[in-house]
């Protein structure tokens, strides 16, 4: 196991870990979104889907891996950020970018941190209630979700978190592929395009849900 420790303690190894955990969490968003889309179908369909997920051994195993991935991604990210700061103890008086840095790439630490805080609130509100709280006690998850989404303050928090997630992913997805060493003149433009599309489309689809339920409760829809 020493080789694995050595690999993960190197600069490229830590980037590899960031890439693999990041892409794993990103792929989970697709599964999560699929489940959420049942909100637009019916209460029964949504609850049925949620129950089938919660009682699936494979899903529960992946769930444990997701928690590990979140912790690994967050801590490695913080550690890398600290190392990067230490690598330049004296700052420049004037430092101009060459033009390839983006808002997304510059703000990974900030966007990632806010998304993490959102995730804690989000997991407490829904995941905890499903596994151990009121939903576990027999209440409808659909009612919990739609009522929470209908609170304008929560919906606003949700939308802001999704915007920051999109910004995070806009750099993160293509960066992950580079860290894995996947780059070629033939495939990279496609990876970048698809990555950027999904980085915006997935959070936008998530954000559409609280917006929908806020508007519905307000009688707009």
């Amino acid at each position: 196991m020493r080789w694995l420790f050595e690999l993960l303690s190197s600069s490229i190894g830590k980037k590899l870990l960031m890439a693999l955990t990041g892409l794993f969490l990103f792929s989970f968003l697709v599964v999560h979104l699929y489940g959420n889309l049942f909100l637009f179908v019916s209460e029964e369909a949504f609850n049925e889907h949620a129950h089938s997920f919660a009682s699936n051994v494979i899903i529960r195993t992946i769930e444990a891996l997701l928690f590990l991935a979140i912790v690994a991604h967050a801590f490695t990210g913080l550690y890398l950020a600290r190392q990067n700061r230490l690598a330049r103890p004296v700052r420049y008086r004037r430092h101009r970018a060459a033009g390839t840095r983006t808002l997304a790439s510059r703000s990974m630490l900030i966007t990632g941190s806010v998304v993490f805080i959102f995730l804690v609130i989000h997991l407490r509100g829904f995941f905890y209630e499903t596994r151990f709280g009121s939903v576990y006690g027999g209440e409808s998850l659909y009612v919990l979700v739609t009522e929470t989404f209908a609170i304008p303050g929560y919906a606003a928090l949700y939308v802001v978190a999704m915007i920051l997630l999109a910004v995070h992913l806009a750099h993160g997805v293509q960066s992950a592929f580079r860290s894995l060493g996947i780059e070629s003149a033939r495939y990279t433009p496609a990876i970048r395009a698809v990555g950027l599309f999904l980085a915006v489309a997935l959070p936008a689809a998530f954000a559409s849900m609280p917006i929908y339920f806020v508007l519905q409760s307000g009688g707009v829809i």
Binding site: S11, G13, L80, A87, A97, R101, S175, S179
Partner: protein, 257 residues
Amino acid sequence: MAAASSANLDLTLDVWRQASPDERGGFQRYEMAGMSPDMSFLELLDQLNDRLEREGKEPIAFDHDCREGICGSCGFLINGHAHGPQSGITSCQLHLRSFRSGDHLVVEPWRSSSLPVIKDLVVDRSAFDRIIQAGGFISANTGSAPDANALPVSRTKAELAMDAAACIGCGACVATCKNASAMLFTAAKASQLALLPQGQPERHQRAVRMVEAMDDAGFGNCTNERECEGNCPKQISFSHIARLNRDYIAGKLRAVT
């Protein structure tokens, strides 16, 4: 001789002065009046140093050698840009015609814990040497030059290897990277061998050893923002970093089996 391209320039320079690695540095302001636009930036510093010496003051220390952009000795940040505002050139190839009279220029050394300032604008780049010593070579005795076509190399690979070999080790990539990462330097020095047949036997071992030396020197981590490529005087492609990532990961995984 062509006439001067435009009128002479008056420039204000804020230059980083630091007497030794352990002493605190600071910016000193110098007014340079009537400078020819055809002067190189290093010649501007030469003129300033002549003046400082006449005044009995310590001249500004800066690295320089070939003064034609091939040795990699010179380099500092000029107004926040490594090697100045023009792309694809070194500080010695930068001419004052790139500036306008009245410009205020901030001249700073590369800033990285791994390339510490020795004096003024001179930094210690021996961390780069240690990366090369760790694996930036081939161990085989190459003997005399082989017949041109005895060892086939595709044109694409030859061009890519040559592009990587254009790295002059100036340090602009580290200087411009927000993380002070040396990935572009290390990747170029590994790729120039990894792309050619002679470099294959030690390809993965080389990547592992060079990255270890790079990490030991305390450079930052690459965050794939390509700033290094944009400020590289030899315009080394960022894609070499992906190759180094591949070779390093493969090297670590192969060592297991």
